[in-house]
């Protein structure tokens, strides 16, 4: 895995947050958060609901300021390079997309921010280039054979692949995925994780993925960033995902088991919504 080979402080980091602090109202969401993501590196942001995982995405998208520390995205201030970031939000207006062809939904990722329309038959060279780029994205996520169908006719996993294609169709340097495994069954989760890993490696895209359960991701990840109780912990999987590190961070006993084939399983993280007691800042923005 790529994580070990990078040196902190290398100038090619796509994302660099140092000693970041976010304050909402009078409460601190998290403080002293450090994060570096390099091209081709797959990082998961983990932690209980309401710990401020999505807040970190808002910071990186330039939609929420840091109260302390510094953040840089693709060598510029957050928000400055938004066209080079692929973003898959958690809440999508799926019902509106029901009757729209999947390939057109992917195309919006490329041309959706453009005003006006092209008169049919003009600008054919550019149109051809755009079409090729859309088909390339569809090929990459393995969605070419159902791209002509309406979005609503696709399965949950197929829909997620289409939305990932929409997020990567511009060939972004950096990809943000907010809970992309939500409401998918286990085999589909595994195949989506494998797809993200492949896109990450082959396109040399830096990937940040928000999740509340680490287990479906463990074998694919380069590094993790845990956020809990206002603190954050970043590192390679085998450094951070240990019983002692996680128990200290969460302030409760957490077990990390190693299966016979070397795979880890994390037991006891307060990941589901039924654990409100540990929230650092109750009532302030979910995730």
């Amino acid at each position: 895995m790529a994580g070990e080979s990078h040196h902190t402080g290398s100038p090619s980091a796509l994302v660099r947050v140092s000693h970041g602090t976010v304050v909402r109202g009078t409460s601190t969401i998290w403080s002293d958060l450090n994060l570096e993501v390099f091209p081709g590196e797959f990082t998961a942001i983990l932690g209980p609901n309401g710990s401020g995982k999505s807040t970190l995405l808002q910071v990186l998208l330039g939609r929420m300021p840091l109260a302390g520390g510094s953040a840089e995205v693709i060598g510029a201030a957050p928000g400055a390079r938004r066209a080079d970031i692929g973003y898959l939000p958690q809440h999508r207006a799926i019902t509106a997309a029901e009757r729209i062809r999947a390939i057109d939904i992917v195309g919006l990722g490329l041309t959706g921010a453009r005003w006006g329309f092209r008169i049919p038959g003009t600008g054919t060279a550019e149109a051809r280039r755009e079409r090729a780029q859309i088909h390339e994205a569809l090929d990459l996520v393995g969605a070419s054979h159902y791209a002509q169908r309406a979005f609503g006719e696709l399965s949950g996993g197929e829909q997620q692949r289409i939305l990932i294609a929409q997020a990567i169709v511009r060939k972004p340097a950096f990809l943000l995925l907010d809970e992309p495994l939500d409401s998918l069954d286990l085999p589909t989760q595994a195949s989506v994780v494998a797809l993200i890993r492949e896109v990450c490696t082959h396109q040399q895209i830096g990937v940040l993925l928000v999740a509340h359960d680490v287990n479906p991701l463990l074998t694919a990840l380069d590094q993790v960033l845990y956020i809990a109780n206002g603190h954050a912990l970043q590192g390679a999987v085998d450094q951070v995902i240990t019983s002692s590190q996680l128990s200290a961070l969460f302030g409760m006993p957490i077990e990390v088991l190693t299966a016979a084939d070397g795979r880890r399983v994390v037991i006891g993280t307060p990941d589901a919504p039924h654990h409100h007691g540990h929230r650092h800042s109750d009532g302030h923005g979910h995730g």
Partner: protein
């Protein structure tokens, strides 16, 4: 062709195209209820216009677009919810009833209210037709410019916002475009029936085409066809009002499209279920 039919055809066709195009986005965005609400505002505007003594047309445009802008402002980044719209509708409709009471106390009810409710496409003049065509052209031009970002903002608002698409502004513009076509359609179809030209052709188009450009074209086409066929039927059967003939044709087109979509889907489903089974083995 008799003299009154030409303005009716020109006004009706251009209104139908604008309604079809705007309606396609409204159906996509599940805002048909907002369109219905705006038609009630149009009624109140018409009666208020008569009470104040300005033309009912000005009253319709003023009230509908002002209320549309208000809804847009309330809606903000998300869409206005049904509860807010529903309460707003009944309140404004109450004002319309009040205006109607004032009007009848002055011994002046009757035709004005009936025109506002049911429209009078066959009494439109050449000037009316030119005004209708101009307004439709402006609305179509605006949608041509904002269409693609509006589609992105409708299907994936959070991602569009992150890319720098002004989602709030687009939501507001969609409301105002809708209010404009509602006001324009009131003249032809009346407040009670104008939804027929906004929802039915667009709903049929969503059943028939999954490609946005094709869907928008089909919505406009079904709208025009509904107006022409409706006018023709009412020309042959003078007892049948043109607006009710147009609404009937549009509803029939929607029903036919829904039927076609159902028939088309069932073999596709069967084929897909089959392919899923073979893939797992």
């Amino acid at each position: 062709m008799s003299g009154y039919l030409l303005p009716a055809i020109i006004a009706g066709s251009t209104i139908a195209v604008a309604c079809g195009i705007v309606g396609w986005f409204i159906v996509l965005r599940s805002q048909v209820f907002a369109a219905d609400a705006l038609s009630h505002f149009a009624f109140t505007g018409a009666i208020a216009g008569l009470v104040i003594g300005i033309s009912p047309q000005l009253g319709v445009f003023g009230c509908t677009i002002a209320c549309g802008a208000l809804l847009a402002a309330i809606a903000g980044r998300t869409l206005a919810d049904d509860l807010t719209i529903g309460i707003g509708v009944t309140w404004v409709l109450g004002l319309g009833v009040l205006a109607l009471a004032i009007l009848s106390r002055n011994g002046n009810e009757g035709t004005g209210a009936a025109t506002a409710l049911f429209g009078s496409i066959n009494t439109l003049t050449g000037v009316d037709a030119v005004i209708a065509a101009s307004i439709a052209a402006v609305v179509i031009g605006v949608i041509a410019v904002i269409g693609r970002p509006l589609l992105y903002a409708s299907l994936n608002p959070v991602a569009a916002h992150a890319r720098g698409v002004p989602v709030r502004l687009l939501n507001a513009l969609a409301f105002i475009a809708l209010a404009t076509v509602v006001a324009e359609a009131t003249q032809a179809l009346g407040a009670l029936l104008l939804l027929a030209l906004i929802a039915a052709p667009a709903g049929a188009a969503h059943h028939l085409a999954h490609r946005p450009a094709a869907g928008i074209g089909i919505a406009a086409g079904i709208g025009i066809a509904s107006v022409w066929v409706g006018l023709a039927i009412s020309y042959c059967m003078p007892t049948l009002p043109a607006s009710s003939a147009i609404a009937t044709v549009a509803a029939a087109a929607f029903a036919a499209a829904a039927l076609i979509a159902t028939l088309r889907r069932s073999p596709a489903r069967r084929a897909r279920r089959h392919s899923v089974i073979t893939h797992t083995h």
